[in-house]
Symmetry: C2
Subunit: 201 residues, 2 copies
């Protein structure tokens, strides 16, 4: 049982790394098996299809993101709006780390697959939709807390948190196209402007 | 000469449509040739590689976007900030139109390829970086005009325009993951909040 679990985990970790470095279509089951040191027949024992593997990779990536970056960003040792700023800083540092190691900004593992697969696979698209909604939750909670504390005027915190997640996805994508994490450092703090009430137009 | 030009154009139009509907890797040269009614040998006469085709598709897509949505959005018949709002409305309508025709939100043709290919092809990434910078220009000009007219306080219009382009890319990606253009309609107008001076944190 332990070896079985290990084999499955090795396939997941390998696929996660390869999808993130390249794309979904840019990586074949054969290459995943080779890099993981697992036979192709064994692959299909764990995952009936590449789609099933991808859904498991998404769960894995989400759990990792939630337990590392989100967990650190939204720790309650600083006021709520500072947590949102810290989220941007942690993402910046992540992209610097990946770029220093690989030469590339890899972007967002969820945004990448959403852009590539949303028109082509409903089950993957729905999982990504749910992940983006889960991503919104801690942002919205921080905004609610800031409103309650009087740090922000009353506003639609759900819509604002959705706008903030969209802004993060967009910044990450632009940083990837520029191959430059500085995009996130320079433009990240402007995320809090999305919480101003009313607009200028 | 006319037939030669037509053949090249047919390959371009077919590839543009297929890449936008799916992805880069999800479409092969063979399928492009079949749909365009062009022989594979003839394809390589016009485009030495799929990369060369893709660079030409990007030029084509950019020219189209600039001459339609950007041209309409930034017409000078309304005040500058209203033009940025109109850009969001026109993009919303585009996504509704595509969704009604195909059942899917296709997202941004540039953002899609940036997410899929930026780690893998430097010439395509650099072209996408240049396109995102060109996209920023009219937004920045509108902001400069709004500042000059006193509609906005002094601010770094280049950084603000970059943030706005990132926001547009992010909203478009989230709309694609949700397969729902309403994301762009509901959250689009908040783009002007990015032009407020100072932040709340």
């Amino acid at each position: 049982m332990i070896r079985t679990h290990e084999t499955r985990q090795r396939l997941l970790d390998t696929a996660q790394a390869l999808f993130y470095a390249r794309s979904y279509e840019g990586v074949g089951v054969q290459e995943i098996c080779r890099q993981a040191g697992v036979k192709k027949g064994s692959f299909y024992h764990f995952f009936p299809s590449k789609r099933d593997l991808t859904l498991a990779v998404l769960d894995e990536s989400w759990n990792h993101f939630r337990d590392t970056i989100l967990h650190k960003a939204f720790a309650r040792d600083v006021p709520p709006l500072q947590r949102i700023k810290r989220l941007m800083e942690l993402q910046y540092r992540h992209h610097v780390e990946v770029r220093d190691k690989t030469g590339h900004v890899y972007g967002c593992p969820f945004g990448n697959l959403a852009g590539e697969l949303s028109t082509r696979d409903e089950s993957i698209r729905k999982r990504l939709k749910a992940i983006l909604s889960d991503f919104r939750q801690p942002v919205q909670e921080a905004l609610d807390e800031a409103v309650a504390a009087g740090d922000l005027a009353q506003l639609d915190t759900q819509a604002t948190a959705s706008a903030m997640v969209a802004y993060i996805e967009g910044l990450t994508l632009v940083a990837k196209a520029n191959n430059d994490p500085e995009v996130v450092r320079k433009l990240g703090p402007a995320i809090l402007k999305l919480a101003t009430v009313g607009d200028t137009g």
